[in-house]
C-alpha cells in the first residue's frame, strides 16, 4: 500500500466537507455493496493514510453493514491501520530468507537508531516502521521497502544511508 503523506491536510476538521466528498467518491467508485468493503477501505486508506473511526462509521452506513463488521475487517487485516502514519514508511521484511540472512540485525539496528518498534512511528512523525511477513523478494534478502521502493541486500550501514536521505 502506498504510504500517505496528504492525510493530515485533508483530514483536519475544517476540511470536513471535502473529506466526506472524497470518501463518497471512493465508495461510489468501488461499488456501494457490502462485498466492496475491503476495496473501499483500501481506497480510503490510500487517500488519508489511515482509517479513522468516524470514517469507519460512515462506510458502515454507506454500504449498509454493521459497524462491528467494518471494524472487524479493518482490524483483521494487517495492512489496515487505525493510527496516523509517519510521513515516510519503512517496511522491513521478516520472511524466511531475510531471517536466514540476518534480518534480525536490521531490526535491532533500527530499534537502536530510531527508538521505535515495528508498528510504531518516530516521535517527530517522520517515519513509520513496519514489518512484513514476506516481500517475496527473497533473492535480495534481507530486503526493505522505503516509500514503495524496494531495496535489497540491506546492511545496517546501507540502511543508514537510506534513512539519512529522508532525514530520519
Amino acid at each position: 500500500m502506498p504510504p500517505n503523506v496528504t492525510a493530515e491536510a485533508t483530514a483536519s476538521p475544517s476540511a470536513d466537507d471535502k473529506k466526506w466528498k472524497m470518501v463518497d467518491a471512493r465508495i461510489r467508485r468501488r461499488g456501494s455493496t457490502p462485498d466492496s468493503l475491503i476495496e473501499v477501505l483500501h481506497s480510503i486508506q490510500e487517500a488519508f493514510g489511515y482509517l479513522e473511526l468516524d470514517v469507519l462509521e460512515y462506510v458502515a452506513n454507506a454500504l449498509g453493514v454493521p459497524l462491528s463488521r467494518v471494524y472487524g475487517v479493518a482490524t483483521f487485516y494487517s495492512l489496515f491501520t487505525l493510527k496516523p502514519q509517519g510521513e515516510h514508511t519503512l517496511t522491513v521484511c521478516s520472511g524466511t530468507a531475510c531471517y536466514i540472512n540476518s534480518a534480525t540485525a536490521i531490526f535491532d539496528h533500527l530499534r537502536e537508531r530510531l527508538g521505535v518498534k515495528p508498528g510504531e512511528t518516530t516521535k517527530d512523525g517522520n517515519l513509520s516502521l513496519l514489518s512484513v511477513r514476506c516481500l517475496s523478494a527473497c533473492g535480495m534478502a534481507p530486503a526493505v521497502v522505503l516509500d514503495d521502493v524496494l531495496h535489497g541486500m540491506i546492511t545496517p550501514e546501507s540502511i543508514d544511508v537510506l534513512l539519512e536521505e529522508i532525514g530520519s
Partner: protein, 547 residues
Amino acid sequence: MTDVADRKEDSEPKASGPIRACANVCQAAGCMSLGAEKLMTAISDRIAERGLTDVAVKRVGCVGLCAIGPNVEVPERRQLFEAVDPSSPEAIDRVVDALAGGGDGRPTDTDSFYVNQVRVVLANSGLVDPEDTDDFIAHGGYEALKRVLTTMKPEEVIDEIVTSGLRGRGGAGYPTGLKWRTVAKSLSTDGKYVICNADEGDPGAFMDRRVLESSPQQVLEGMAIAGYAVGATQGYIYVRAEYTLAVKRLRLAIRQAEHAGLLGNSIADTAFRFHIDIRIGAGAFVCGEETALIASVEGGRGTPRPRPPFPAQAGLWGKPTLINNVETLASISAIINHGGEWYKAMGTEKSPGTKVFALAGRVVNTGLIEMPMGVTLREIVYGIGGGIIGGAKFKAVQTGGPSGGCIPAADLDMPVDYESLAKAGSIMGSGGMIIMDETSCMVDVAKYFMDFCREESCGKCVPCRVGTTQLHMLLDKISRGEGELADLDTLEHLADVVKSTALCGLGQSAPNPVFSTLRYFRDEYLAHIQDGVCPAGVCTMNSRVAS
C-alpha cells in the same frame, strides 16, 4: 526470437530490417529495484550512439537469477549479463557488443543453472513482454484458448487436464482435472466462479509473484480455459496487496485482452463470455486457505469454515467455485497446446509435470527455477543452485513454508515429489525452498515459524489460536536455555493435538516445523536443554550454573 521485430517498443530505435539480436532486460520487481528501467534506456541510447540499426531492446519478465540483477539476456548470442550497472558505460558496452555480434557474457547454453531446467510455466518468462499482449500472442499466446473454444467441448478440455495428471501447485496437490470435473458437474442456475489464488503468503516463496510479473497473460488464458471447461463466466484473481507490480501488469493484461476480444463477451467470436476482476488482499496469511479466501473476496474477515461443503459445490456466494493456484493455471495452455500425454511424460508417475521452485537462503544461485518433478534435492541445491555460499556446509532445506518442514543433508538424494516430501515430514507447499547452512539454529527456525503461525492464526478455533501460542512459548523457553527434558514431550503432545484438531490447513500444518526439527535435529534441542548451548550460536542463552 525473430518475431521481436514486430514489437512496438517505446524506447528502442526503429529497425528498418529484421532484428538480428535483442537485449532482453529483466523487468521483474527485483531487477527493477536495481535500476532495470534506467538500464533499458541506457542500452538503447548506446545502440543509437553506435549506429546499430538491426538490434533491439525489450522489456521482459524474470530471467531467473534474482540475486545478481539487473539481468540482461541476449538470446541470439546465448549470453547473460548479470549485475549490469546502468551508470557504467563499460557494462552497457559489453551488452551492446553482444548485440553487435561479439560479447563475453555468461554462456546460457552451457551454464548449469540454465541447461538443467525444463520450462513450461516459465516458458514465457524472460522472453515475452509482460506489458504487451500482442507480444504474448506473437509467441503463441491465446492459441490454446482459441482452440478450446472453437474445436473442443468442455468435457474434452477436462479430459485433457485429467490425462495430464496435473496436481494443484498451491500446496495440497489435489488432481486439477478432478477438481474441474466436480465444479463442471455441480449444478447452478445462476452462475459459477473461477478464482485464481494469488495470495502467495508463504515466507520464502516468490514463484507466483514472478509468474504474474513475467507472464500475466498466461494466467488469464488458463483462467478463461478453466471458465469454459467448468461453465463459469466470471473469474476473480485474489492477489496480495504487496504485489503492486503484479497487480499493475494484471490490470493491463486484462484491459488489453478485453480490447483484443480475448476476454469479455463473445470471446474469439464465439458465444463464450468470461470476465476477470481483481481482488486485492489486505495482509492475512490465512486467506490462502480457500474458504478463508472466499470470505475475503466477499468482503469479510478472512476466516475459514469447515468443509464440506467444498467450494466446488458451494463456494463464492454459495455457488460452485473453482479455486486454482497461479502456477496451476499457468500450466493449462501448455497442456492444451501439447496434449495431456506430453505433460504426463514429464516428472514422476504420481507427480507428473514440472514444478517451479524459489531458491533462497544460503545458496549461491538465488532465484526461480523450473524442474521436472522427481528431481533430487541435491540436483537443485548443488546442480542448479550452485551449492552453499562460501562453500559452507549444507545443513537443511526448508520446504513448504510455515506448513512444511526441514529436510537434513542425509536426505539430499530424495526425489522431490508430493509423496516423498510428505514421507520426509515436510510438504511440497507452493515451492519455496530455503537453504540453510551451519549458521542456522533449528530450534530458532522452529520458533520462527511458530511465531509466524501464532501471529497469523485467525483466532476462530481454539487449537490453533491457543495451541500455536503455547507451542511458541515452549520453543522460546528452550531457545533461552531454560527448557527441561519434559518440555520435549509436552511439545510433541501439544503439536499432535493442534495437528489433529485445528479447523483449517493453517493450524493443522503449523506443527510441521516442530515435528521435522525434532525428528532430524533432536540433538540441537538437547544441546539447548542439557548443555545450555546453542550449537549454531544463534540463540541468546541465559547463563546457567553448570550442574
